[in-house]
């Protein structure tokens, strides 16, 4: 038992650690690790990953919420979109052939790799679109000891639409879809990158929770896999987030892009050949 459990915990701690350092979350790495290395069926890996994503999101969100980086009002509006997508996605995951899921996973890996390379600076708007202003979605960047910097939120419908897609991918593939969520908030809604990342991380818990509930209620969560994975990924993510401030992010990012492309190739190959 100890060798299997130890191996599973090591894989999970590693996935959580790399997920935290890359900013992509543990789900992106634990699903392929379980499928390729632990020889676990895809739907079991997806169910276990969804649960671990809930845990890491909750653990990492505490500091971001407390320090004011998470925009709670934006999160609650956009969660309507992600939950809709996640419930549909998790339900469909039980019906869609495995090779389609593997192919989608490979495409999401490439999207995450592209996103990692394209991260840009902030483009702050003093005022947002009418609907965002009415819902008071704009906020202030935490800036202790200095003048507050206000940011507005624009193109809420566009961001909302992309969030449905992010939720759908999360439910289907067991990932947090953080890269897609940050992309929607940063590029489309012009929310500052750090606020986008913190808010995305916060929302991931509800998105993955919606999917995890479908899997749990269906009895598709293998407890012997999901329990150690949840504990391991959370421990790895917490360690990774402590090391992150001292790491050279530029080189790390290049390394992760290579890993993501390799995973995409492996998952794509499995989808095409059925191996």
């Amino acid at each position: 038992m100890l060798s299997i459990l130890g191996g599973l915990l090591a894989l999970s701690v590693g996935a959580g650690f790399v997920g935290a350092l890359s900013g992509l979350g543990g789900g992106v790495f634990i699903v392929p690790a379980l499928v390729i290395l632990a020889h676990v069926p895809m739907y079991v890996a997806v169910g276990a990953s969804l649960i671990s994503v809930v845990a890491t999101s909750a653990g990492a969100s505490v500091a971001f919420v407390r320090d004011g980086w998470t925009n709670l009002h934006i999160a609650m509006v956009l969660e309507c979109a992600t939950v809709t997508g996640a419930v549909i996605g998790a339900y469909m995951a039980g019906l869609i052939p495995v090779w389609v899921l593997e192919l989608l996973f490979a495409l999401m890996m490439l999207q995450s790799a592209y996103f990692s390379l394209r991260k840009k600076g902030d483009d702050l708007l003093p005022k947002g679109c009418r609907i965002a202003e009415r819902l008071e979605l704009g906020g202030e960047l935490p800036n202790p000891g200095a003048a507050e910097i206000h940011y507005g939120v624009t193109n809420l419908p566009g961001g909302f639409a992309l969030m449905v897609v992010a939720g759908l991918m999360s439910g289907l593939l067991g990932i947090g879809s953080g890269a897609l969520k940050v992309m929607a908030m940063d590029y489309i809604m012009h929310i500052p990158l750090k606020v986008s990342s913190a808010t995305s991380n916060f929302m991931i818990g509800v998105t993955a929770g919606a999917g995890a509930l479908v899997f749990l209620a269906r009895g598709d969560v293998a407890t012997v896999i999901a329990a150690p994975v949840a504990i391991g990924v959370t421990a790895g993510a917490l360690t990774g987030s402590r090391i992150l401030p001292y790491a050279d992010v530029r080189w790390l990012r290049m390394g992760f892009v290579v890993i993501l492309v390799l995973i995409a190739i492996e998952m794509g190959w499995r989808a095409m050949t059925g191996v």
Partner: protein, 129 residues
């Protein structure tokens, strides 16, 4: 109540909810793993069954799951831990819903109620299969 005041209150209570439910889930999960370690072969057998694509429902209904967990069944204890873990987002959204009802913020009452309803639909869809 203004958005800034709402934000201040939510920023205090949301981390408390997240931390409390997460800690409860972690304790139950670790207890389940320890319980499983005391039964020789139990973990390995189930792991191999999962690898062989043997779909095993881990619980029938919630009451029977609770009874089995109470009697020390390792898998039931772990399933209970995983259920508590999925309560993290549910508890947080439920708190926000009650908060927005109290502060009479109609738009956000609708948003949070929709999210809660979505999570409930997820459970129902899962039970249907």
């Amino acid at each position: 109540m203004r958005a800034e005041e709402e934000d201040r209150i939510l920023r205090v209570w949301t981390p408390v909810i997240l931390r409390t439910v997460l800690a409860a889930a972690a304790i139950v999960l670790i207890l389940g793993l320890i319980a499983m370690a005391t039964v020789p072969g139990e973990y390995v057998d189930h792991f191999r069954a999962v690898q062989d694509n043997d779909r095993v429902k881990d619980y029938g209904n919630f009451l029977s799951l609770l009874i089995r967990a109470w009697h020390g069944n390792p898998r039931s204890i772990m399933t209970l831990g995983l259920m508590i873990l999925t309560l993290v987002p549910l508890a947080r959204v439920a708190f926000c819903l009650m908060f927005f009802i109290k502060s009479r913020n109609k738009a956000f009452v609708i948003f949070t109620a929709y999210v809660l309803a979505g999570l409930a639909v997820g459970v129902m869809l899962g039970r249907i299969g």
